[in-house]
Amino acid sequence: MSPALRVRDLSVYFGGLKAVDGVGFSVEPGVVCGLIGPNGAGKTTLLNCLTRITRPTSGSIEAFGRDVLRLPIHAITRIGMMRTFQNLELFGDLTTLDNIAMGCAHRFRTGLLSELLALPSARRAREAAYGEAEAMLVELGLAEHRDRRVSDLSFGTRKNVELARALCSRPKLMLMDEPAAGLNGAESAELGRRIRRFATERGITVLLVEHDMPLVMSACDKIVVVVQGRKIAEGKPEEIRRNPEVIDAYLGEG
């Protein structure tokens, strides 16, 4: 069986700057993998390559055996990849429910003409999409914000909306960019349990970019460490915690 994600020798150069420099790792299905490193290590750039926002200079990316770099950005959700963003990328003027429903846009597609003519197929697709969105709304405790514009919500709530939207796409591989930023200790612990449940109950493979060490250590099955664009270590949380190079380059500084 092919891994959920395999990154090989990936490099991204911005002019003379090596943002990502020959990074390679793979994540087996159902595994929660942490991606850690100091600020500017190239973690978000790496996620941007995976989701086709940034074009890598060289290297290859496979998800479930598919060559990701050959897919256009709108197609990556169809192979089961979805991500959340560090600074949130929501549809600000849409309601919470509409935002979440956009998550399953690709699964219930309708033609423009069938919608303009209000055909039954368009109505059924809408009902199916919004049915799932409503369920997700309740599951993530967002029911009270259902009809509010997301730009009026607090940062924490908007993070939750983005997560709900991502889950609504029924991802097989979820990329999360600093989901715990701005959360307090208790919220972060709850997030950790939630991520574990994604893996065990929904079988979602997770690539978690995070600075919150207690969260990473408790939620992840394995961890990849990047420093200045290079991978310096990879292994189980306890191995990473004891790795002198990691302690020296990253964990030790705090």
Binding site: T51, I73, H74, T77, F91, M102, T110, L112, E115
Partner: protein, 290 residues
């Protein structure tokens, strides 16, 4: 003429502006392009409709209905052939290209259909009738009714259908929309098509009153701009209200102050709005989030 009948004909004029103004806003929101050629495309579509009427025995109401697909096709083709190849070009290049669209359609219409005005049949009676002591033309009432129905259908489309919601989403955040599997390039075609349909309706509604010629839409697109800017240019309802206000204000100004100054009135208004409230009269200023 009494004040009330002036208001009605002002609203009819404003409805024409509103259809064009809304087209401009839809295109600008979906593709970040301000299309100076929109009025000429509308005029060209009206000529196509007139040709359809002359070549077939089609009843007038059916031809007017046919303006929607005609305009959609026209807008969609322009997007695919002209705008798509330059979508990553600097904004100024795109702007100049839409000015090019203006001249291409303007001249093409002249070459194909000549430079003389053509009479265009009207769905509604042009002679005024008296309703409750107020003299109004059925044409004015008809134009207002058609425009309002089209606006209501547009509202339903954007608020109640998934394509409409996806189009709004794509205009707010393209990266996220792509990530959700929305084909942003299809949204662009749909937006230009939709705008094309609305604009041709506007041209077909005004043509019976002004006669159809290749210069017919030149002042109307400028008024559509003015009205949309009055309404903030980014909000569809705001643009409609802005255009209606402009139509009424302009008509009243023409009747009570000066007919010859009527056209300058719209531009004085644009300058005032841009100076005093650049975000439009109805848009409440929201602090931009960083």
């Amino acid at each position: 003429m009494t004040l009330l009948s002036l208001v009605v004909s002002g609203l009819a004029l404003g409805s024409i502006y509103a259809l064009i103004g809304v087209s401009l806003v839809i295109i600008s929101k979906a593709t970040d392009v301000v299309n100076f050629g929109q009025g000429e495309m509308a005029m060209f579509g009206a000529f196509l409709t007139l040709t359809l009427l002359r070549q077939t025995d089609m009843p007038l109401w059916l031809a007017v209905l046919a303006t929607l697909p005609i305009g959609f096709l026209l807008g969609a083709l322009v997007q695919l052939i002209v705008v798509r190849p330059i979508e990553n070009a600097p904004a100024l290049n795109v702007l100049i290209s839409t000015l090019g669209l203006f001249f291409v359609f303007n001249s093409a219409a002249g070459i194909v259909w000549g430079f003389d005005p053509h009479p265009f049949p009207s769905l509604f009676e042009l002679a005024p009738i008296t309703v409750g002591g107020v003299a109004v033309t059925p044409a004015s009432l008809g134009i207002i009714a058609v425009a309002l129905s089209v606006m209501f259908a547009l509202y339903l489309f954007f608020e109640k259908t998934r394509w409409g919601t996806a189009m709004r989403a794509a205009s707010m955040n393209r990266t996220a929309a792509r990530m959700m599997g929305i084909r942003v390039e299809h949204v662009a075609v749909a937006a230009w098509g939709l705008a094309g349909g609305l604009s041709v309706i506007s041209a077909v509604l005004i043509a019976p009153l002004t006669f159809l010629d290749q210069q017919m839409m030149v002042s109307i697109i400028l008024k559509g701009f003015a009205g949309a800017i009055l309404g903030g240019f980014s909000s569809l309802p705001g643009s409609v209200i802005g255009c209606l206000i402009l139509g009424v204000a302009e008509t009243l100004f023409g009747a009570y102050v000066s007919t010859s100054m009527k056209d300058s009135f719209a531009f004085v208004l644009i300058i005032l709005v841009l100076l005093l409230r650049p975000s439009g009269v109805f848009v409440t200023n929201r602090a931009k989030k960083v």
